[in-house]
């Protein structure tokens, strides 16, 4: 028999090995899944993970998909490290898209280099506004931000739908629920000729670097880490939980808003009833697979972006349903959380009749027996 035994101290090696192990298990489970569906696993995995990267265009698409994921996940992980759980990035992204898109449509006739910066500001402001609602409810009424931010996502989706069916609808669009195509000055410049890779990718990289410096070297990053790990020590140091709630929600809300603006102004080029295939939710997976570290998040963002591309490619070449993408993403998070147990525990062969209690740390043993003696 095997059993789990608590390690004397958390394994640092496992922190890095765990995501790779999770990826491996995801692939194995994928093979089983494809066998059940009657598809050749080698072909399917090739279509899923290799084919998208066989051309320069594919690599550029990887950047396009990774941009919103990385932007959002990097800032979400700041909040997660502080213990603030913003689950509503999808809604904040939607608001960013609405506000950025509104600026683009408002200045439809204007040809100016200032349209894009204005859209950026509007997008960030929209996302921040949407994240400010859970922040206010949490700090004022102690309402759980997980629930409020998540529920606001559905409100945002309906708001977008309302606008696209109403004031934002293209007047010459035969009543289709979509806006006019943006004019050229409202479209993000392309940085790689012949592809769709736009300056948003550079913004995402800049945010990664900024977040890295912030978490490693600045007072605010320190406050985030302390309040997340030991709230009492944070109060002792004089850090304000309230400020950090506002800071991390506005930061991730702003970044999600920017991502939404980038989506409408980059790959989409207009406002549609749906502007994201769930980037805001997938970013949560990205943040955890990336170990809440900016560099890890960058790599994880690329991996999850590949799962989007792979899903499309598998759909085209093997007629697989697009839902396979979601299944892969879900399995990756599931296996990651399972593998993370190995950071604090190790698997050993069970030898002798030593009781399970005996191997836990001593304080726990006391508590256990105290309860047991009842």
């Amino acid at each position: 028999m095997f059993k789990l035994v608590k390690r004397p101290e958390p394994s640092r090696q496992m922190v890095l090995v765990s995501p790779l192990l999770a990826l491996l298990l995801t692939l194995l489970a994928g093979i089983i899944l494809f066998l059940f569906m009657g598809v050749s696993p080698t072909e399917a995995l090739y279509a899923f993970f290799v084919e998208p990267l066989t051309s320069l265009y594919g690599w550029a698409e990887l950047g396009v998909k990774a941009t919103p994921l990385v932007l959002i996940a990097v800032t979400l992980s700041v909040g997660f490290r502080a213990g603030i759980w913003n689950i509503g990035a999808e809604g904040q992204l939607t608001l960013g898209g609405i506000c950025g898109g509104a600026v683009a449509l408002l200045f439809y006739e204007v040809e100016s280099v200032w349209v894009i910066p204005l859209m950026v500001l509007a997008g960030i402001a929209g996302g921040m506004f949407w994240a400010a609602i859970p922040a206010f409810l949490r700090t004022r009424f102690n309402a759980n931000e997980i629930l409020t931010s998540l529920m606001l996502t559905y409100v945002a989706g309906l708001l977008l739908s309302l606008l696209v069916h109403g004031v934002m609808r293209d007047p010459d669009g035969y009543n289709f629920p979509e806006s006019r195509l943006f004019s050229d000055s409202a479209l993000l410049p392309i940085i790689l000729e012949g592809t769709r890779l736009h300056v948003g990718w550079l913004m995402a990289l800049a945010v990664v670097v900024a977040a890295w410096i912030m978490m490693a070297r600045t007072l605010i990053g320190f406050e985030v880490k302390v309040l997340g790990q030991a709230p009492a020590a944070g109060r002792y140091a004089g850090f304000s939980q309230r400020n950090i709630i506002w800071f991390s929600l506005l930061l991730s809300g702003g970044a999600a808003g920017l991502a939404g603006m980038i989506e409408v102004s980059g790959p989409i080029g207009q406002v549609l009833p749906t502007i994201s295939p769930g980037y805001g939710f997938t970013a949560i997976i990205v943040a955890f697979v990336g170990r809440l570290h900016p560099v890890g998040v960058l790599l994880a963002g690329l991996l999850l972006a590949l799962s989007y591309l792979g899903g499309e490619s598998a759909q085209i070449s093997l007629n697989l349903p697009l839902a396979v993408t979601g299944v892969f993403q879900g399995m990756l998070l599931f296996f990651l959380l399972a593998c993370d147990v190995l950071i604090h525990y190790q698997i050993v062969r069970k030898t002798g009749p030593v009781s399970a209690i005996a191997d836990q740390d001593t304080t726990q043993a006391t508590t256990n027996t105290a309860t047991e003696s009842k």
Partner: protein
């Protein structure tokens, strides 16, 4: 008996014999291996090697239920009682077999009167004092009619009066033939109560002594393996200007488990050490947080530092005025467990030492200061990058005390400075606190350790249920009188007339 944990040998070939009717002390410092040994006897831990003989037969004790069946009972340091249930219900829940309520009640009453353990079976636990709660645990054990009773540091939560009452009960039990294994590191208690003592040091048995043949100092020498400097009481310290003045400070409890502070009045002067005694859970944490600024008052004029009203200022504004605080809980409150010592230095020092420039952390300055703390206070660690959680209790406390003292505070408030700390580290800490006061700082020690307060303070008071007693000259009070203060009763002024009563 031998038992190892990853990285440490907790017990190495330890022998222990106890006879019927004997009160046997298990003596040793924190970390000497007392708990490990007892847990093996009570079946919580399995030994790596060794054997247990019970009334002449070799037994193996796989779990506590079996230990109880044999006749081994244990009173833990931390009680496991349900606050919302009555005494009777709590005891009924703890029985291994089903019992008739009325019968149980009469047995409880019988035991409580026979052994001088007054207890009303129908009272709810939340209405009882700590001493009364301990009685429940003892009665619960006695109901099993044990042959060996193990008591783990039973007096750490009791006032001196409650301690002497407990001792009477234990003596009566031993006269009836019960063997008692009494775990403690308090030498006076062992001298007063026990017949023989087994002394553990670093996981090994160093000696078995007949307590009557030994003095407290010879027991101490065996326990610590070295003779300690005896501390001289502080006499004749000239208190300087008023530094901290608390006036009618009241604070609501932060949650339902907290203790509200009621009308606290307290003055601490430059150059003096003031002590606040009290049984755990009487508002010590709340008082420390109210003084450090972690909880702020609504009244600005409830607290003055050097004459400046600062009841509404947070921790860092108070630090700027020279306040440093050391909370009772080290990991998670005084230090972040999974952060390096450098980060943990920055935690409280960034304000006074200017370790932030333009929002950025000045890493090299912080590291230099951390290394200074480690060196000056002889902190044993794997360097300044070691996690706080990797340090032993004593070393972490030396680090935290050093971190605050080297910032040169004008007022230091410290809670339980030597709780769970080995004697060597305790001595370092006590000396550092004295030196700080001698340099002109005001020092306030909140502690459950009466010996520490009687030896190391100029004035003393006690906190009980969130109310602070008057503060008296330490030299004028006996330990029993401090015990009365801890129990919340006021002292009779006349009985103190001989001592230089200084009721500020």
């Amino acid at each position: 008996m031998t038992r190892t944990f990853p990285g440490v040998i907790a017990n190495q070939d330890v022998d222990l014999t106890i006879h019927a009717g004997e009160i046997h002390a298990l003596l040793g410092e924190n970390g000497a291996g007392k708990s490990t040994l007892v847990k093996m006897i009570y079946g919580i831990l399995a030994p790596d090697s060794g054997q247990i003989d019970w009334q002449g037969n070799t037994v193996s004790i796989p779990n506590p239920a079996f230990a109880r069946e044999l006749g081994v009972a244990m009173v833990f340091q931390h009680f496991s009682l349900f606050d919302s249930l009555s005494v009777l219900e709590n005891i009924a829940l703890g029985m291994d077999s089903k019992v008739n309520r009325a019968e149980l009640k009469s047995r409880i009453l019988e035991i409580s009167s026979r052994y001088g353990l007054p207890l009303d079976p129908d009272r709810h636990v939340y209405t009882l004092s700590v001493g009364e709660r301990q009685r429940i645990e003892i009665i619960r054990c006695l109901l099993q009619e044990p042959k060996l009773l193990i008591m783990d540091e039973p007096t750490s939560v009791l006032t001196p009066q409650e301690v002497s009452r407990l001792f009477e009960t234990l003596r009566r039990l031993s006269e009836e033939g019960l063997a008692i294994l009494y775990i403690s590191h308090k030498l006076d208690e062992i001298k007063a109560l026990c017949h023989r003592a087994t002394i553990l040091r670093n996981g090994k048995r160093v000696d078995v002594a007949d307590v009557n043949d030994e003095s407290t100092s010879s027991l101490a020498a065996m326990m610590m393996g070295e003779t300690l400097e005896t501390t001289t009481p502080r006499i004749g310290n000239q208190a300087g200007e008023l530094r901290l003045s608390v006036k009618n400070l009241s604070l609501e409890a932060a949650d339902e488990f907290g203790i509200p502070l009621k009308n606290i009045n307290l003055d601490v002067h430059c150059g003096e050490i003031v002590g606040i005694a009290g049984v755990a859970g009487n508002g010590q944490d709340e008082l420390l947080m109210a003084l450090s600024g972690e909880s702020v008052s609504t009244q600005s004029d409830s607290l003055f530092i050097d004459g400046k009203a600062c009841g509404q200022l947070g921790p860092n504004k108070r630090r700027a005025l020279g306040v440093a605080a050391i909370p009772e809980q080290r990991l998670g409150h005084g230090a972040v467990p999974e952060m390096s010592l450098v980060d943990n230095t920055f935690l409280t020092a960034f304000q006074r030492l200017g370790l932030v420039g333009g929002g950025f952390i000045k890493n090299s300055v912080t590291r230099q200061f951390t290394e200074k703390v480690i060196e000056n206070f002889n902190v044993k660690s794997n360097g300044s990058k070691a996690f706080a959680s990797s340090l032993s209790g004593g070393n972490l406390q030396k680090f935290i005390v050093g971190r605050e003292i080297l910032q040169n505070p004008g007022l230091l408030i410290v809670s339980q400075p030597t709780w769970g700390v080995d004697a060597g580290a305790a001595q370092t800490i006590h000396k550092a606190l004295r030196d700080l006061a001698d340099r002109g700082a005001a020092v306030l020690i909140i502690s459950q350790d009466l010996d520490e307060l009687m030896a190391g303070t100029d004035r003393i008071g006690a906190i009980c249920a969130g109310e602070l007693s008057d503060i008296y000259d330490t030299a004028a009070l006996s330990i029993e009188e401090v015990g009365l203060l801890m129990a919340g009763s006021a002292l009779d002024e006349k009985s103190l007339a001989t001592g230089g009563l200084n009721n500020v």
